[in-house]
Symmetry: C3
Subunit: 449 residues, 3 copies
């Protein structure tokens, strides 16, 4: 089955709506870096792909870190002296600082204010705040509501538990012909925030679901983990597997209307960097490519000098440029099916590039072969060459054992699709030999040129 | 004899008119990839240079190709039912599709139309068409004339022969001090088309004629062959000589008013690429440099991965940008003596760069030598250095065994002429030693720095 | 003592005035490439730093050159027939061509004119001219004055001596922890010319004076020599020391109002080139960086292929762009304390970069270390990372044994100050280990990564 054909057959608009529907289901759940919100979220994903769920006990040492206690929350509110709930966790899980310790007491506005978080510059939005590794508690609310608070005695209640338990993450491994892996990761720790990062949760789910039906060259691994402690835990428990990862993408912020933005891997010129750049360049849409920065999502851990995995990050509007980032405005209105579909399509094209980027040898390296007598060149000499013919000339010219198809696409300025088609036609006419493929029971090595 | 001096002595305007005169003689002959038109053309060239003529039998296997049957044509026409010749080969050899098989019959306009070729977008021009490797026949005419054709019975006659014979090509080898070769090629298969490629036929003729009188470092080879099958045949018969070719140019489209355009070799940074770029940069005229594309003229064969000869193509308006390309508008009006002369001058300058690009060693590498006491530096300290003095400082500074003169010219931004003059002055004062030249019966190696 | 802190403590404005005051003292002295003017100038410098004075006898062979005779002058003038001094050396030492041989005779205006130098394009300025290596004599005057000269008999007198003596130069060596040296040079041969090069004489004096109080990693060498013959003499007498010079700057033209201009070393990508570029890029002011040219100041000799010392030149307006260059307009008005202070500050920052550009190893290379538990990361997760935290992430990410701090600063776009601060914090928390530093009596090698 040819991934190149498949990706065009696919109705990605339909997939966009399916992704959005799953996101709507995930949206209300209160996720954090541990706890039942994560478990329930992974269960929803499992309805689409046979996700493996891992539970790692609190206190487990993972490199310089320790898996924290598990956090769960039932309810939280602030009541004024009349007993009116002025902040209610049931209305939005963003109202509680994630990992807040249990609290139930009365206090003055002045004391309460020390535990309140607002966004003065965006007075109608509720910020998202966390305090994972320092014990604390707090509430988030709109600045407008905050300004309306009277001098009063308030009752605050956070009915949470922070106790020994587990860190939960999901993993899906899809075996291909090679043990070499493509790794794609998403965080799953954010509560009611759509673009960051529910959009990537649903992207990975539907990518994995779609790839299952294909016979792929690479093996694929999809990780759904909490931020920072998640990839650290996975890396610590799977250190021996890291060398299998040949190409990696950290997914996040893939559902907003902004243009696609790719942040390169630490290596800067890895095959994944060139594959994504190629797809974006030929997408016909505006895009940006950024150099690596040791900050962001899972690439922070996978790109540490001890691992140096070639992991890029393919987003739409990066968090650092998004005004909605980590606020209540990152909601079901910001993310739309058409943008999810576009991201899905680009990820699939990147995978197609990785799958298709193999090396061939010109079996007839001295002068051009006579394409005409094989019926693959127009018979009547006209004034100009066509793109498909040019692609054949490029493939023949550069299939010298040093250039893979993506190299040829880059040098020619033609799309890999066209280059791959040319290679297929030439192979069918026995003018080209794929490197590494057995032929007549003898493997062809391309290193000798 | 110094090629640097010679090229400035030369009246290239005079040469331009001589080239044009030869082109006028060549223009009416009906050339194709084989046949008597090629023989007659080469005979005209032989009046200027002692060209060697090669005849390769039809059916000879040359790599993936076979030398085709020889094609010759005596006459061709289309008559209407009144017996009037409405298309007459005698008026223009472009009227017949090259390699048309013999035909003589009557047919309706509808049947005839299947064999007619026109240019609807340029209704007054006659296109040039060929069918070398698929047996067929056809006529080319202006679209205006085509639109005027009545429903009638037409008599078509092509009095051609396509039978065993030979492929004919011309070769001129000029021995220099070294066995290392500079190869310059032109196609000779096009009939009445001036820029593509009679312009390069006359360019090569007069370049060769001019170089004969000089004592050159490199050996020079000039090839006049039919397109595609010509260079393939030569490469097949001369495979052992290919490694001698150090620099190569494929010449075509050198007589039109457009700016000079250089298409780089497959290597992209070969010495020929740098030499041509240097000449164009210092020409004081507009120009373009293009990256390699595995299409075009003889570079298609010489740049195949099994040979990878460093062959660039120095043109004026490339065929792909020329509206006149492969039409009757590529005629004696399009090409003019002044443009031929300018191309001639640039080719000669490229040759001068290749001839002059040798490496020297500073015999006094610690600090500057005292130029003043040798009388080659102004005695009285003024405010600013002059270009000639700066050239001497550059040559002294970079003649460290790693930089040849063209490297020094590129780094300094000065012309190779100025750099070469500086090297000559410094050598004359024993401050510089040319690498590889015997001195006091001991060869100087520059590799040790 | 930390050079990074020191340079900000310093009141460079105060230093600018001290430099200017020394320049005022130096201005009237008649310096040349040899003679008492140089000795008196070096004596003024010695009041600030313990300069070592070297005297090299006339006739000493130094590579291709010979130390010339020593030149001294007491007086010079031109009188008209009325006995009026129309040109008087006592008013400006620029009036006499430097190294003029003794002369005392009467001659006509026509004969005199052969020995007069003016600047027709700048009619009020007096040019500066020399004739070191060809025996000659001459006067310089304004073109306006020249045009006013009557047909008359003139008495010319140059009371100079050109006889065996010495070439004098000053040297100051400041030992640091390493034998590796930073070399900074200035010419001291120009008479009453401020920017070229008294500005660099006073710059070197106060740089050396300031660095004396610091405990430096590198050793520093300051050279005050006459142009051309000075560095040639030093190089010839100190050839064995050249390999110790790791970074070098040739100082000149550092006191005018123009923007800073850096001319790169011959290597083009040496650490000194990157250090200066970094300082200028982060200076917040306009600047230019030029490629190397084998002309200029002491870099002409230090960059000769036999030495190839990594010597750049950090100037303000380069001589080649300065209209005042080598004229009486290069005076105490052109150079101002604030520009001297700015140059001083930039040189000091370059030294700080060189001192601080060491390599560290991330002791925790797998995943990020947990900065929060060490109190060096904000506890409460907010929306965006801060620059100081980003600097820590960059240092951790790139301290892999291949990147020194300047590499990290360049890759991150952050200033070396910020990167160095981050490295200090991380080192203090035992997360980083400086390469080459002993720890627990075991040297850490960083080559193994």
């Amino acid at each position: 089955m040819n991934i190149f054909e498949l990706k065009t057959d696919l109705d990605s608009s339909q997939v966009g709506h399916e992704m959005y529907a799953l996101m709507e289901e995930l949206y209300p759940l209160c996720r954090s870096i541990t706890g039942n919100g994560v478990r329930e979220s992974l269960a929803l994903v499992q309805r689409h792909i046979p996700l493996e769920i891992h539970e790692v006990p609190s206190g487990t040492k993972v490199f310089d870190w320790t898996v924290p206690n598990e956090w769960n929350i039932r309810d939280a509110y602030i009541k004024n002296s009349k007993g009116e709930k002025i902040i209610d966790f049931q209305k939005s899980n963003l109202h509680v600082v994630s990992y807040s310790i249990p609290v139930h007491k009365k206090l003055s506005l002045r004391e309460l204010t020390k535990h309140l978080h607002t966004l003065p510059g965006r007075p109608d939005w509720v910020p998202y705040r966390t305090s994972y590794y320092v014990e604390n508690w707090g509430f988030c609310l709109s600045h407008t509501q905050f300004l309306g608070l009277q001098d009063d005695e308030y009752e605050v209640c956070i009915d949470s538990r922070l106790e020994e338990g587990h860190l939960t993450y999901g993993e899906y491994y899809l075996k291909g012909k090679l043990n070499d892996e493509v790794l794609i990761t998403s965080n799953i720790c954010h509560p009611s925030l759509c673009n960051d990062t529910l959009s990537s949760v649903v992207l990975l789910t539907f990518l994995a679901k779609h790839l299952r039906s294909l016979g792929l060259r690479y093996s694929y691994r999809f990780l759904f983990t909490p931020a920072t402690i998640g990839p650290i835990t996975w890396l610590c428990l799977n250190e021996a597997r890291v060398s299998n990862i040949k190409h990696a993408l950290s997914a996040a912020c893939v559902g907003d209307p902004g243009k696609s933005t790719y942040k390169k891997s630490r290596r800067g010129d890895a095959e994944i960097d060139r594959a994504v750049s190629h797809v974006l360049k030929h997408s016909g849409k505006d895009y940006e490519v950024w150099d690596f920065v040791p900050y962001g999502y899972d690439e922070r851990q996978f790109s540490s000098p001890g691992f140096n995995v070639a992991m890029g990050s393919l987003m739409r509007t990066p968090d650092s440029l998004s005004v909605e980032h980590h606020t209540s405005a990152d909601n079901l209105e910001l993310v739309q099916p058409e943008y999810l579909a576009d991201s899905f399509s680009k990820y699939l094209q990147v995978i197609a590039v990785l799958e298709g980027n193999t090396k061939y040898l010109n079996k007839n390296p001295k002068c051009e072969p006579q394409l005409g007598k094989r019926g693959i060149y127009r018979a009547l000499g006209g004034p100009h060459v066509r793109n498909g013919e040019l692609a054949m000339f490029w493939v023949l010219n550069l299939s010298d054992g040093e250039h893979a198809l993506l190299d040829i696409a880059e040098k020619s300025g033609l799309s890999l699709d066209l280059i791959k088609d040319a290679a297929d036609i030439l192979s069918a006419h026995d003018l080209l030999q794929e490197c590494g493929r057995e032929q007549h029971r003898r493997a062809v090595s391309c290193d000798g040129g």
